[in-house]
């Protein structure tokens, strides 16, 4: 069974989103997604300061098996990237909700966060797959 923390929000494309105290959103891929991908060997990160629209592919996670796009969950600006992933992409396998975070985005409209799926909805989504 995949780990799906209750306090996070999710997307249909298997990103997780954490609301930080400063209103920015930290984004990564879920435990379920990293399990499906297997050993991750390469991550292409967005640029800091990059503008993104909800649904844009802003990062790429490549495992031995497959490449997978990572999509911006909301419209906004990329304000931080996890540069540790450049040399240790396996952090996504080891700690998908912690050290394996990918980027942080400052949403243009803070209310977009409330539209995202909660843990129960995400659980339902992956049990249907």
């Amino acid at each position: 069974m995949s780990n799906i923390p209750q306090e996070l929000r999710y997307t249909e494309t298997h990103e997780w989103i954490r609301l930080e105290e400063d209103g920015t959103l930290t984004v990564g891929i879920t435990d379920h997604a990293q399990e499906l991908l297997g050993d991750i060997v390469f991550v292409e990160l967005p640029e800091e300061g990059e503008e993104c629209a909800a649904g844009d592919d802003v990062a790429v996670v490549e495992s031995v098996k497959a490449a997978s796009d990572v999509y911006a969950p909301v419209t906004g600006e990329v304000v931080a990237i996890n540069t540790k992933l450049t040399d240790t992409p396996e952090l996504i396998n080891q700690d998908p909700y912690g050290e394996g975070w990918i980027f942080r985005v400052k949403p243009m409209d803070p209310e977009d966060y409330d539209e995202l799926m909660d843990a129960d909805a995400y659980q339902e989504l992956i049990s249907e797959e």
Partner: protein, 370 residues
């Protein structure tokens, strides 16, 4: 053997070691109709385990065929592009392609010379039905008997410490295999131990009765051999520069375009193997394409079917691409024009990246060669 559920619907085939894989928590995948372990944990760890120590693979899905009879040798000299007369010594193994009349590759295989009038072939799982149909058709007119040994399981134990660990498990029988040279097989009663493999490391491939497989697997685990899945098997064989049937070659290409010219025995000139005329014609006209190794200079992962550009134009394709755990970068086999130089570009996800052209293998006996 196929399993049938309560509704009479045939589901995926299971090897005699299926319960062991499930008990070890393997991630299982459909591999040519077989429910096989992809990885038991991290496939990269399993890869390193084989390069550095010892790992084992359940390869019971592959098909073992015994070829016996007074004309077994004549039959195989007609059937295979390589020449079983190179197997003078009993127990010796040979890698060969089986070709159609056009020189296309029906399958690649290992043939073992067990004894006078007695050979054993190991063919790919996914091609088994068409291979057997072809082999039976070609057997007409030969005094030869083909017997599929689906009563056997097969375990490949590979890595620098693999042989000593197998010797420990074999106990008193070990002395009968300890002196085996590479590419030789010894029969120990119902068991056969061959010093062959598909990883670029030393080790054994062991065939044994299906009913004895689970116990032997457990004894190998107890001897410190770690289970490894098809994921690691693929990155290991790719680093070793070994072709995968269905990816790097099939019926649409000949061995001469697949880096396998060394496996075609044109001498003696009077041996009329199937596909010979087509290959000679291709040689006379010039072989237009070749299979090469690629090493990606940038970061990223090479994938099957990515287009390869030579002098800015699409001229070839990656046939097997992946990430090399030993080298820490992407490698591939690619089919390109015969006059391709030492550098190409690969189209990956809309961008072009430079790749170096190398001669496989990339890794052998744990060491990088490129």
């Amino acid at each position: 053997m196929p399993k049938t559920n309560d509704n009479g619907i045939t589901t995926m085939k299971h090897t005699p070691l299926h319960d062991q894989h499930v008990a070890l928590g393997a991630k299982m995948v459909d591999f040519g109709g077989w429910d096989m372990p992809l990885a038991y944990g991290s496939q990269i760890e399993e890869h390193h385990q084989v390069r550095r120590d010892a790992g084992m693979f359940d390869v019971s899905h592959m098909t073992v065929v015994d070829i016996t009879g007074p004309q077994a040798r004549d039959y195989l000299r007609r059937l295979l592009a390589n020449d079983v007369d190179r197997l003078a010594a009993p127990g010796k193994a040979l890698y060969s392609c089986m070709l159609d009349e056009q020189g296309g590759v029906i399958d690649d295989l290992i043939v073992y010379h067990l004894d006078v009038d007695r050979y054993r072939m190991v063919i790919n799982a996914a091609t088994t039905d068409k291979d057997l149909a072809w082999m039976r058709r070609q057997a007409e007119g030969f005094d030869v008997d083909l017997k599929v040994r689906d009563d056997l399981a097969m375990i490949a134990v590979q890595g620098p410490t693999a042989r000593e660990r197998v010797h420990r498990v074999l106990g008193g029988e070990a002395e009968r295999v300890a002196d085996l040279k590479p590419f030789f097989m010894a029969e120990l009663g119902e068991m056969a131990v061959a010093r062959t493999g598909y990883t670029g490391e030393d080790g054994y491939e062991i065939m044994l009765p299906a009913g004895a497989a689970a116990d032997f697997w457990q004894r190998l685990l107890d001897a410190g051999v770690k289970p490894c899945g098809l994921g690691a098997r693929d990155t290991l064989r790719l680093e070793a520069g070994m072709n995968l049937y269905g990816a790097d070659m099939d019926e649409t290409v000949t061995p001469l375009e697949s880096g396998l010219a060394w496996t075609v025995a044109f001498e003696p000139a009077d041996r009329d193997f199937i596909g010979r005329a087509a290959l000679e014609r291709q040689l006379a006209e010039g072989v237009g394409r070749k299979l090469v190794g690629l090493v990606l200079e940038d970061r990223g992962v090479l994938r099957n079917h990515q287009p390869v550009l030579v002098n800015g134009a699409v001229a070839g394709e990656i046939t097997s691409g992946s990430f090399s755990p030993t080298l820490g970068r992407a490698i591939a086999l690619a089919r390109v024009p015969a006059d391709t130089g030492d550098s190409v570009e690969v189209q990956m996800r809309g961008k072009t990246h430079r790749a170096r052209v190398v001669k496989p293998p990339f890794v052998r006996h744990g060491k990088a060669l490129i």
